[in-house]
């Protein structure tokens, strides 16, 4: 996929960030979350300390195909209870290479729903130019498996500027 990194320097804003570096969520079972991220979502995980899990896409290791490319990290923290249950509008997106890959992912995840302790697994559908489906994990965290055509990639939309 095309990776455009066009980003305006934050010179006049009050905060001057260089990177949106992480997003965080909580789980009641870090081991279950790690298994889902690795064996279901195909992501790389590392546990820097008890109760904390870092997650990124594979390939960023020094000899990997994405070495030296920027990435962001999802940070999961283990908690006794989920105090703020999440809803579908609060989700994490995982991009795959084609519509067929979305369909294949749906079939596999739907078949293993109970094995991974998942809640609902919705069927794929087109929405706003993306072809995607959602599922919810055992901690109410929602995940979207999506594909977009090149002109509708997030980076392409940046180049187009405001449409509304």
């Amino acid at each position: 996929m095309t990776v455009a990194l066009k980003t305006a320097p934050a010179t006049t804003s009050h905060v001057k960030p260089t990177q949106l570096v992480s997003g965080t969520f909580v789980t009641t079972d870090l081991k279950r979350t790690r298994r889902m991220c690795e064996e279901l979502l195909g992501l790389e995980c590392a546990q820097p300390e008890p109760g904390t899990l870092l997650i990124r896409e594979r390939g960023h290791q020094p000899d990997g195909p994405l070495a030296s490319r920027p990435y962001w990290v999802l940070e999961a923290r283990e908690v006794p209870t989920i105090e703020t249950p999440q809803e579908m509008l609060n989700h994490w997106g995982v991009f795959v290479s084609s519509q067929a890959a979305v369909d294949a992912a749906f079939e596999k995840i739907n078949a293993r729903q109970h094995d991974f302790g998942l809640g609902r697994v919705q069927k794929p559908r087109f929405r706003h130019g993306s072809y995607a489906f959602y599922f919810v994990d055992g901690d109410s965290n929602w995940w979207e498996i999506e594909h977009r055509t090149p002109e509708l990639l997030y980076t392409a939309l940046r180049e187009k500027g405001d449409q509304h």
């Binding site: 996929m1 990776v3 455009a4 990194l5 980003t7 305006a8 934050a10 006049t12 804003s13 009050h14 905060v15 001057k16 960030p17 260089t18 990177q19 949106l20 570096v21 992480s22 997003g23 965080t24 969520f25 909580v26 790690r34 298994r35 064996e39 279901l40 979502l41 195909g42 992501l43 590392a46 546990q47 820097p48 870092l54 896409e57 594979r58 920027p70 990435y71 962001w72 105090e83 703020t84 999440q86 509008l89 609060n90 994490w92 997106g93 995982v94 991009f95 795959v96 290479s97 992912a105 995840i109 706003h128 979207e144 997030y154 939309l157 940046r158 187009k160 405001d162 449409q163 509304h164």
Partner: protein, 144 residues
């Protein structure tokens, strides 16, 4: 992890999401205060980003208030130096009412990483931190 192929072969962790009840006011906060880039490709949504191909999709929910999030569901923005964290914290306190910032936490430091959190006008949490990607590189290199 086991040696089996994962069910999904992802190319990118592409996005997270937030909700807002006022696109214009939210964009002003994101652009003018937080310093992230924003584009509006859809009437009901704007996408924000900084420093990579991933985005945060901000969906407008005009007929209902944005769902309040807890501080453990937040996004982190990296600034270059510890002093930039302090400057951002001072700015958050100074401009809190201008941008509808609901809460500003104290600056904290742990293992050389300085940070603070704030809750924005839509009840979402942000962390301003001097953590860098190299910090995460080292953790993943250890491979635990």
């Amino acid at each position: 992890m086991s040696g089996a192929e994962p069910l999904v072969q992802p190319e990118l962790l592409s996005h997270g999401t937030i909700e807002c009840s006022d696109l214009a006011a939210t964009r002003r906060f994101l652009n003018e205060f937080l310093g992230v880039d924003v584009v509006r490709p859809l009437p009901e949504a704007q996408y924000l980003w900084k420093g990579g191909p991933w985005s945060v999709v901000c969906v407008c929910v005009p007929d209902s208030e944005a769902k309040e999030q807890g501080p453990q569901n937040r996004f982190k923005l990296s600034v270059p130096r510890a002093a930039d964290v302090d400057a951002a914290h001072a700015a958050a306190l100074q401009h809190q009412s201008t941008y509808g910032i609901r809460k500003v936490g104290p600056v904290e430091e742990k293992a050389g990483i300085r940070s603070f959190t704030l809750q924005d006008l839509n009840k979402h949490w942000w962390e301003i931190t001097n953590v860098t990607q190299s910090y995460y590189d080292e953790i993943f290199a250890k491979g635990r």
